[in-house]
């Protein structure tokens, strides 16, 4: 079953490697802490589209949708 831990694990394994950030809470701000950068967001989008069978429009690539694991989860599960 896909839940927000899938997103959390992906970010920890793929986007936090090599960055001086320890641990990740679902409410942590991913943008202000630099966990998601300009390239990381593209990699994250590819992951989300592939794993949640969704198509993410460019217009939806706004900070509010990606600033935390909670925000990403809300975005990918919205109606």
């Amino acid at each position: 079953m896909k839940d927000k831990t899938l997103i959390q694990q992906f970010i920890m394994n793929e986007l936090m490697r090599g960055k001086n950030v320890s641990g990740l809470e679902v409410t942590d701000n991913l943008i202000e802490t630099g966990v998601i950068d300009s390239l990381g967001i593209q990699i994250l989008i590819s992951f989300l589209e592939r794993n949640f069978s969704i198509a993410i429009a460019d217009e939806d690539l706004i900070p509010d949708n990606f600033e935390s694991v909670d925000a990403i989860w809300a975005f990918v599960t919205r109606d």
């Binding site: 943008i31 300009s38 593209q42 460019d58 900070p63």
Partner: protein, 382 residues
């Protein structure tokens, strides 16, 4: 199923572009290059043919061509046109100004700008690069501060294609410093806005006929209705724009490579040394075979990336591969063409040295080769 074979109509349109460019854009090209002179008349002719409106809806005066047809036409332009500066100017206008407005603009913004851009009466471009931030694009310092219904922009942009002639530039600026790359916003800045000016024009190794220069924004007042997308949408717009640019702008390079290949084949058949055509020597024929391989693989990557965009898919890794491979192949094929033609190839009488100077820029703009490799490596989890 992946299918990007060209239809008969697309092939016919590409041929029409080749005939048009060969007939209308080459007269005086060498002299204009020496004088670093933009082909203003050629710009108008391209607009009449429909180049500036290739991808735009008919309601704005465009031809409403799909992406594959558009790149086929631009490949044809690259094959026949000897003015890479004009082609670069056109490509920037299409992929970094028209497409973002078409994709992210409001109906009112599209009504206001797209007809003029399609007709060529307006010249457009985008302004991201700054003196201290090239490859590190998202660290730009140009600031936009909201003041009532206006944004006030301050900063300097450099190496801005079309800047000296542009009527409208999509300027990237920081609206929220706490959000890093997500704090960028795009503004459609007209040259008449108070506080907008063009600084020094860069003198480059190649692309000499392309107007390119510095943009200075000093308390530049931009109405809120000229914001493209929402606050913080800059990164999304930039990434979308770069995918189109990396997928489509390099169509002209593939066309140019094809032309160079044809000329090398012809020359290798008629040029005789030691009593036989030089093409009968494997040292030459293998060079030409390798050139052919690079042309074909470049075209495949170009069309694959463009096909994905036409399907509405993201193509970050495909567009990075296409951009990287095509730009580096163009440089390599120019060097081989010069070597095959010997002293004549090195002379300015033939066009290969001009191609070489123009080709080097392709490894730098739209993200350097090193940045493309970074993108590819990152997508591989490295």
């Amino acid at each position: 199923m992946m299918d990007f074979s060209l239809t008969e109509d697309q092939i016919a349109f590409k041929k029409a572009a080749i005939e048009f460019a060969g007939r209308e854009l080459n007269e005086g090209a060498m002299q204009r290059e020496r004088n670093r002179e933009f082909n203003q008349a050629g710009w108008g002719k391209c607009a009449q043919f429909g180049i500036q409106g290739l991808t735009l809806p008919q309601r704005y005066g465009g031809l409403e061509m799909d992406i594959l047809t558009s790149i086929a036409a631009m490949e044809g332009m690259g094959y026949a046109c000897r003015d890479s500066g004009l082609l670069f100017s056109l490509s920037s206008h299409i992929w970094t100004c028209e497409m973002p407005i078409l994709k992210f603009g409001t109906d009112e913004q599209k009504e206001r700008y797209l007809a003029g851009l399609a007709s060529g009466s307006l010249i457009g471009g985008h302004a991201m690069t700054e003196p201290d931030f090239g490859s590190d694009a998202f660290s730009i310092k140009c600031k936009a501060v909201k003041n009532g219904n206006t944004y006030v922009l301050n900063g300097t942009k450099t190496f801005i294609t079309n800047a000296p002639l542009a009527d409208i530039l999509l300027v990237f600026a920081v609206t929220d410093t706490t959000k890093k790359f997500a704090g960028l916003t795009v503004f459609m800045v007209e040259k008449t806005f108070p506080g907008f000016s063009v600084g020094k024009c860069e003198e480059l190794m190649g692309l000499k006929t392309c107007p390119l220069g510095e943009v200075i924004l000093q308390d530049c007042e931009v109405p809120e209705e000229n914001r493209l997308g929402g606050e913080g949408a800059g990164a999304a717009i930039f990434n979308s724009e770069m995918e189109y640019e990396r997928s489509c702008l390099f169509a002209t390079h593939v066309g140019a490579m094809e032309k160079i290949l044809d000329e090398c084949i012809s020359y290798a058949k008629v040029r005789e040394q030691f009593g036989k055509p030089i093409g009968s020597n494997q040292s030459i024929s293998h060079k030409i075979a390798d050139m052919k391989v690079r042309v074909e693989l470049s075209r495949l990557m170009l069309y694959k990336a463009a096909w994905m965009k036409a399907q509405g898919k993201r193509a970050p890794i495909e567009s990075a591969i296409a951009k990287l491979y095509i730009s580096e192949s163009y440089v390599q094929n120019c060097l081989e063409a010069i070597q095959i033609h010997g002293g004549y190839g090195y002379s300015t009488e033939l066009d290969f040295e001009r191609h070489l100077r123009d080709s080097v820029a392709g490894k730098i703009y739209s993200g350097t080769s090193e940045i493309q490799r970074n993108i590819i490596a990152n997508f591989l989890g490295l």
